[in-house]
């Protein structure tokens, strides 16, 4: 039963993605024949840049390819054959039932919680529900730094509670270290995001030394270290040019 | 063995209403080698208007096969059959006949009235005439009070009566009854016999297959005896009895070559 629950959970998670694209989605046959253009799950939309999304769109638009015969050409009138996203206000709510069902079927699929929470708070203004879902996910997956990272975003971006955001992100960092030490395969993508957020938060709070420390760690894992180095340099300049009173503030630690 | 014609009822100038000419019906199995079984072999007979004609034979004699040929259910191998001078292969040949099959079940979800209306429409009876016609036949078979009840609630006798009613819905000139009293209790049999007599008195022609010799003797003008697909005798019941100096049952057994103690 366990495996089938996971299979169904994966199916419903994909279903949410299908809904996000208004039914325009490649089948396994399309993927097999067309070099399997990957349609990223909704979660990744949170991290991707406009340029990245543009690239994804052009890949998706082409998964059907030109019609192979008259039946293929004719049949394209009867199913969604144009790329589309749920981007009208509130439309994103339509993906939620499948994510809820996926979470119920497989509570250990962390991605379900993070994706659902992202859409709830970012596009549907349902911060309470997002927080509740993430807490539920955290209970089921106490070692998940991904959920903690997302929860930190709720506190930081929606609750504007820097203290709690810092707490959960630092906790996420700890969990990340534990898991990386255990697995030996560090998930640098999430680490990068945690460090970026922490650095931004500390900089915003005026804890420049702390921010610099996070940026230096980020430089080590970032795929674009030059950009991070630039940020470090900018921050250092800011520290130097700041009035002494503020500079002393930079010595404070951000620990709760 | 050629059929023993006792007498014919053919009247000068009268055309047969039903005519079978040198009919052969064979069927082949789907087994390897395709064995052929002859169900009816060179059968010829005629039935004239106003007659009650009994078609006799033991089980497996070919009676039902012959009836099925007349109704177009079975293709003929050789020969031909005509009803009202129309080859039975043509569906229009069945416009003026009524058929009562042996032990038939009708659409159980319909009421008697709906069933008769359905068949009346197939006969293209004008809409205005359907209602009175249904009333008439239901009264005739004594099902008037049960006309609104679904057929699934009918007893066996009632089912046989609704069978008769459907056979009469088009006021047929020829009625083909296949073992009409089969499975009925004595009262039911008597009712069917009375019905046949009543139809005869109305000038209808009745062709009925049976192995119930008692009722054949009671109601039939002429009979034909079939055995192993071949016609063994045909003629008036009285002539047959006279020829064999015995009752119809014994005459029948003699015709088919049955000797007690020898199967």
């Amino acid at each position: 039963m366990g495996n089938s629950r996971q299979l169904f959970a994966n199916h419903f998670f994909t279903k949410a993605d299908v809904y996000f694209h208004s039914g325009y989605y490649p089948s396994v046959f399309d993927q097999a024949i067309g070099g399997a253009p990957h349609i990223t799950a909704a979660k990744d939309a949170a991290a991707e840049t406009d340029a990245e999304h543009g690239r994804e769109q052009s890949e998706e638009a082409g998964f059907l390819g030109p019609p192979r015969d008259w039946i293929d050409r004719f049949s394209r009138n009867f199913y969604p054959s144009r790329h589309s996203h749920l981007d009208r206000p509130g439309e994103a709510r339509e993906i939620l039932p499948w994510l809820r069902i996926a979470a119920d079927l497989d509570p250990h699929k962390v991605e379900t919680y993070t994706v659902a929470a992202y859409w709830l708070r970012e596009h549907l203004n349902r911060v309470d529900e997002a927080e509740q879902l993430l807490r539920e996910g955290w209970r089921a997956n106490p070692d998940s730094y991904e959920i903690l990272f997302e929860l930190g975003r709720v506190f930081d971006e929606n609750r504007h509670d820097s203290q709690r955001a810092r707490n959960v992100w630092e906790l996420a960092l700890g969990k990340w270290r534990q898991r990386s030490a255990r697995n030996g395969e560090p998930d640098d993508f999430v680490l990068e995001q945690i460090l970026t957020r922490l650095a931004q938060l500390e900089e915003r709070e005026g804890h420049w030394e702390k921010a610099l420390s996070y940026l230096e760690k980020l430089e080590a894992v970032s795929p674009k270290p030059e950009a991070i180095q630039q940020q470090i340099n900018d921050l250092k300049k800011k520290v130097v040019s700041a009035p002494p009173a503020n500079r002393s503030g930079a010595q404070q630690t951000g620990k709760p | 063995m050629p059929a023993q014609a006792v007498t014919t009822a053919k009247l000068p100038g009268m055309k047969p209403i039903l005519k079978i000419e040198d009919l052969v019906v064979e069927y082949r199995t789907r087994e390897f080698g395709q064995r052929v079984t002859v169900a009816v072999n060179r059968l010829s007979l005629e039935v004239f208007p106003g007659e009650v004609f009994g078609f006799l034979g033991p089980n497996g004699a070919g009676k039902t096969t012959t009836v099925n040929v007349l109704l177009g259910f079975v293709p003929v191998t050789r020969g031909a059959a005509y009803i009202f001078n129309v080859n039975v292969r043509d569906p229009i040949a069945r416009q003026r006949i009524g058929y009562l099959p042996e032990l038939t079940y009708y659409y159980k979800f319909l009421t008697a009235e709906e069933l008769l209306r359905f068949y009346a429409r197939i006969f293209r009876i004008p809409r205005a005439e359907i209602g009175p016609r249904i009333d008439e036949v239901l009264k005739l078979v004594g099902l008037d009070t049960a006309r609104k009840r679904p057929i699934k609630t009918y007893s066996k006798g009632m089912q046989q009566r609704i069978g008769l009613a459907q056979a009469l819905i088009n006021e047929p000139d020829l009625l083909i009854l296949d073992e009409p009293t089969s499975g009925l209790d004595p009262i039911g049999r008597m009712n069917v016999r009375e019905m046949i007599q009543r139809l005869k008195s109305k000038g209808k022609t009745v062709f009925f297959s049976s192995h119930e010799l008692g009722e054949v003797e009671t109601v039939c003008d002429r009979v034909a005896i079939l055995h192993q697909g071949e016609l063994k005798a045909t003629g008036r019941v009285s002539d047959l009895v006279e020829k064999y100096k015995c009752n119809l049952e014994q005459a029948f057994l003699k015709v088919i070559g049955y000797e007690p103690g020898h199967e």
Binding site: Y19, S22, G23, S27, F29, D30, A32, I33, D69, D72, F74, S75, N77, F78, Y79, P80, G90, R93, E94, L96, R100, A116, L120, R126 | Y27, T29, R30, R35, T37, V38, A39, N59, G60, G62, T64, N68, L71, G72, F73, V74, P91, I92, R94, Q95, I97, P101, T104, Y105, Y107, F109, L110, F118, Y119, I122, F123, R124, G163, Q166, Q228, G229
Partner: protein, 284 residues
């Protein structure tokens, strides 16, 4: 036509007097309402999942009704011996086939109207808007698809003796077409000859029932299909339905109505093979 319509009226009466339709409708309604009563993240404006579930149930129910009703028509006539008094009347076998088809198809149409009305009520109550054109196209195309299904199943019912085996085989074929039909050309490309040719031949030969499945367009509120395309699909379905009906008639006109009954025929030497065959034998 009169005879065919008379037969059709009996088939329709049968459908609404049997429990199948009511059971399927009640099940569809209960499951949809149950799913509709769920509130995901306290948002009561979520509707597409409900539309999808309702349409899926409608499709399953409609297929069950179409295949179930058509598969048993001619075998049941034989089994209950109602075919004898019927064919003893001035009705041709072609008219009987046409009547059975019309009856099953119209009965499916009536059932679809009830189901889609329910679907309409559910979607309007949630969405507060009614995409009438898409809704009508979905119903129309669905009905024509069932026309092909009914004709195909009727053909099966004169080829296979048992309604259950016919129903199962037809359902398997229909579901395979619905799920794989669209992709057979892609599969063919990946295969080596001669399999590629065989799959391609199947792709071009089978009726593409999946064309008529516009659920995704309705669920995700896409624009209606071009009406000319809709007409094309209707003609496509009509062509296949006529082809299957013609094939049914060709098989049925050569079939004996009766089955051989063991021990009743003279000089019986007919084996089990013949007893099982709907074609070879009749009662004597």
């Amino acid at each position: 036509m009169n005879n065919a319509l008379s037969v059709a009226s009996i088939v329709i009466k049968e459908l609404y007097r049997r429990k199948d339709f009511y059971v399927l409708f009640v099940l569809t309604a209960i499951i949809t309402l149950l799913m509709g009563s769920l509130h995901f993240f306290n948002d009561d404006r979520i509707v597409r999942y409900l539309k999808e579930i309702c349409l899926l149930l409608i499709w399953i129910s409609a297929l069950a009704i179409a295949v179930g009703t058509s598969a048993r028509q001619i075998p049941a006539e034989r089994e209950n011996r109602t075919i004898f008094p019927l064919l003893a009347k001035p009705i041709t076998r072609g008219q009987l086939i046409a009547g059975k088809f019309l009856g099953c198809w119209l009965a499916c149409g009536l059932a679809l109207i009830v189901f889609y009305f329910f679907f309409g009520v559910i979607s309007v109550s949630r969405e507060h808007q009614w995409a009438a054109a898409s809704f009508f196209q979905a119903l129309w195309l669905h009905w024509w698809m069932l026309g092909v299904v009914v004709a195909m199943t009727l053909l099966g019912s004169v080829v296979f003796a048992a309604p259950s085996s016919n129903g199962t085989i037809c359902l398997l074929i229909i579901l395979s077409i619905l799920l794989l039909g669209r992709h057979l050309n892609k599969v063919a490309v990946q295969l080596a000859e001669p399999m590629s040719g065989v799959v391609s031949a199947v792709y071009f030969a089978v009726p593409h029932l999946e064309l008529f499945d516009v659920r995704d367009l309705v669920v995700h509120n896409w624009d209606p299909i071009n009406w000319l395309i809709c007409v094309g699909a209707t003609l496509y379905a009509a062509a296949y339905a006529i082809f299957f009906l013609f094939a049914t008639w060709l098989v049925f006109r050569r079939q004996l109505v009766l089955r051989w009954q063991p021990g009743c025929s003279p000089g019986t030497r007919v084996g089990r093979a013949a007893a099982l065959s709907p074609i070879a034998c009749w009662a004597s």
